[in-house]
């Protein structure tokens, strides 16, 4: 029995936690899950309640047959509980890179599939599901099915938040790299228009792009940011000290957040100071630098347990996407946040490319904005609910792996393939064995 929360540390609920080591053990646990059902959990990096199951069973899958293999073409087969950190530590020195990585390496392969995670290369490479060749899924009847992209259940599982079964294993294609370094262009932008224009105009020349936005800047500087565009570096791009061992990769956290931090540490003053420093540090004209893979993709992984810095009340992450052409909605949101002085420690803007056929998959061609907001800010709930309406009206949606607060109504209005997904899920799990707090809150099942 344990109280569980997501990475945002809000809304704890209690569940029985079991740690199966084999698919057989997992099947036995699923078979006697009881009426409150079961859901798989990885490293708990979903921000909200996706890997919580109040009163029921949660399978901690991090010990599930922890093995992986790679063939000569970079095709990787990994157990669901293996983390991208472990995979990268092993694969990068061999010259392979995961096809998609989110902002942290500390997610499991199972979690990456269940959330159909995206990264800075979405505009070129789409999301994790696009690189999957097959999946092994433990379903409610106790069998382990092998699924391929031609199967309905495959695309109900990719982005399906663990509600079709327990992902046991995934096979996906990695990409070849020559070094563990990135060739990065950094440039700051004056305002939101310039941020959007520059991204739209230059994204296609780079595999990885993202913009950090200074949400506390107002007036003519509203939406100013720092644009980062990168590609895997060739040996010639490396600093001299790194050329001897260009594929060396052994990142570890540099700092650890204290076990307890007071609420309000990340307030308007501290975030404003950080934003000013971060913005000021970035060059006004593009500058090219060489940067290691870890600081480029996973800067926050450098601080162990950084989510504790938000204090005991935790934080919410708000990430939405609106289709291309709905830039006005994006601008309204930024204006409103900036006008209200909402404190968001990390605000990130990204242009998405094509999505996957995942029925509950989040990305679609358009703009996505992600915010980290301390949960205690007054008026926050009403403001985000208002944004939900704007996003829905623009044909956009919210990311389930980040969500911890949208309503079932918003869910149904924005995930237009929910009915189709429910039907496939009902066939695979007629008794509704797989369930989570997220599923209850959003009435998914």
């Amino acid at each position: 029995m344990m109280l569980l929360t997501g990475w945002g540390r809000t809304a704890p609920t209690r569940a029985t936690v079991a740690r199966p080591r084999t698919a057989e053990e997992a099947a036995a646990l699923v078979a006697k899950a009881g009426r409150r059902g079961v859901v798989a959990r990885g490293l708990g990096r979903a921000y909200g309640d996706a890997a919580q199951n109040a009163g029921g069973l949660v399978l901690d899958c991090t010990a599930l047959e922890p093995s992986w293999r790679v063939d000569s073409t970079g095709l990787v087969t990994a157990s669901a509980g293996v983390s991208l950190h472990d995979l990268m530590t092993a694969l990068v020195p061999r010259g392979w890179f995961v096809p998609v990585t989110p902002g942290t390496r500390y997610v499991t392969v199972g979690g990456a599939v269940a959330a159909d995670v995206h990264g800075k290369n979405h505009h070129v490479d789409s999301s994790f599901g696009a690189h999957l060749r097959s999946l092994r899924l433990l379903t409610a009847d106790g069998s382990v099915r092998t699924l391929e992209p031609g199967d309905d259940l495959f695309w109900a599982t990719v982005g399906g938040m663990g509600l079709t079964g327990v992902i046991v294993e995934a096979t996906f294609q990695c990409v070849p790299i020559e070094t563990a370094w990135m060739r990065v262009d950094v440039e700051r932008t004056r305002d939101l228009d310039q941020t959007l224009e520059t991204m739209a105009a230059t994204d296609d020349g780079h595999r990885y792009t993202v913009a950090w936005i200074d949400l506390l800047a107002r007036g003519g500087r509203m939406g100013r940011g720092v644009l980062t565009r990168g590609d895997h570096a060739a040996p010639g791009d490396l600093p001299a000290r790194a050329r001897g061992n260009p594929l060396a990769f052994a990142p570890r956290p540099l700092l650890s957040a204290p076990p307890w931090a007071p609420g309000g540490l990340l307030n308007r003053a501290t975030v404003r100071a950080f934003n000013a420093a971060w913005y000021g540090k970035a060059p006004a004209t593009p500058r090219r630098i060489a940067q290691g893979v870890a600081p480029f993709f996973h800067p926050l992984d450098g601080v162990d347990g950084w989510n504790r810095m938000y204090g005991p009340r935790g934080f919410v992450q708000y990430q939405f996407v609106v289709p291309l052409g709905a830039e006005d909605t994006l601008r309204r949101v930024v204006e409103r946040l900036s006008g209200a002085g909402v404190v968001s420690f990390l605000t990130v803007l990204k242009r998405f490319g094509a999505g996957t056929p995942g029925m509950l998959s989040f990305p679609m061609p358009g703009w996505t904005l992600a915010l980290d907001i301390p949960a205690g800010q007054s008026g926050l709930a009403a403001m985000l609910t208002e944004f939900d309406g704007w996003v829905a009206a623009a044909g956009g949606r919210l990311y389930l792996a980040k969500d911890s607060r949208m309503s079932a109504t918003t869910m149904a209005a924005t995930y237009l393939r929910l009915g189709e997904w429910r039907e496939i899920r009902r066939r695979a799990d007629p008794d509704g064995v797989f369930v989570s707090d997220l599923a209850r809150r959003l009435r998914l099942c």
Binding site: A11, D49, S404, A408
Partner: protein, 258 residues
């Protein structure tokens, strides 16, 4: 399910006509609750499913689906079944609010000990049985909040209303014990200690210092759902006032006019 910013989906109000109770429910619905159960005596006859009476209509206008159940606080043998019936209607119970109670006059109780015992059975006994039944459900579901409406009348019992006050004292102790028992279960108890509440229940009485309205009590309760507080004083400054009152020597306390 409660979301990250304190909004809930389902609410069960026991004593479905209670002014404070309905004020809390209304606020929860405004903040996103979509399924409400109102349980009260003869409710299905007088507040039928789908409308007719004001609270049901009001809540439906705000977008909630409202169910009505018959509930008698004086019949503890029916309480466990009632909690299950409510859960069958709306699913997991996110917030349970037993808001029933009777406030009789001490003079009447002095003359009619049977009436006093009957009211204590509702004000304390009824809350114990419904509280335990609700706690079992919340524990099973691994989340949820039980709001217990205690009173400063029970913090230090006064001679002017010691029957009512002693029932509230019992209830307050029960609720605190239950809060501790539920610690770590995912479920929690909020013990609300309002001062004198101006409203239907106290009509004709002269308000005491630091009195509040049902709306103010409801605001404080809803706000407490965002925190981890166990005890909520309404208004908050009563906490300090009672820290002092608990220290008053008995001869002084005894001489308080009311």
């Amino acid at each position: 399910m409660r979301n990250a910013l304190g909004s809930v989906d389902t609410v069960l109000l026991l004593g479905g006509r209670s002014e404070i109770g309905l004020a809390i429910v209304e606020r929860l619905v405004r903040r996103g609750a979509r399924r409400v159960v109102l349980a009260a005596r003869d409710a299905t006859a007088s507040m039928k499913d789908g409308g007719g009476t004001a609270p049901v209509d009001d809540l439906e206008r705000l977008g909630a689906e409202v169910h009505v159940l018959d509930f008698d606080a004086a019949r503890p043998e029916t309480h466990a079944a009632l909690i299950e019936e409510a859960a069958a209607k709306v699913g997991d119970l996110d917030v349970v609010i037993p808001a029933f109670g009777v406030l009789g006059s001490q003079a009447v109780y002095d003359a009619d000990p049977v009436a006093a015992a009957r009211d204590v059975a509702v004000n304390f006994g009824g809350h114990v049985s419904i509280g335990l039944a609700a706690a079992r459900r919340l524990r099973e579901q691994g989340h949820g909040t039980l709001v217990v409406l205690s009173s400063v009348a029970g913090v230090r019992v006064r001679k002017a209303n010691f029957v009512y006050g002693s029932a509230k004292a019992g209830l307050d102790g029960f609720a605190q014990g239950l809060a501790d028992a539920l610690h770590g279960s995912g479920a929690r108890v909020v013990v609300v200690r309002p001062g004198f509440v101006i409203g239907r229940m106290t009509r004709g009485m002269t308000p005491a210092p630091m009195s509040v309205t049902a709306a103010e009590v409801a605001d404080a309760v809803v706000e407490s759902l965002d925190t981890r507080k166990v005890i909520v004083w309404v208004p908050a400054r009563l906490r300090l006032a009672f820290a002092v009152m608990l220290l008053l020597p008995r001869p002084l306390w005894r001489r308080l006019p009311r």
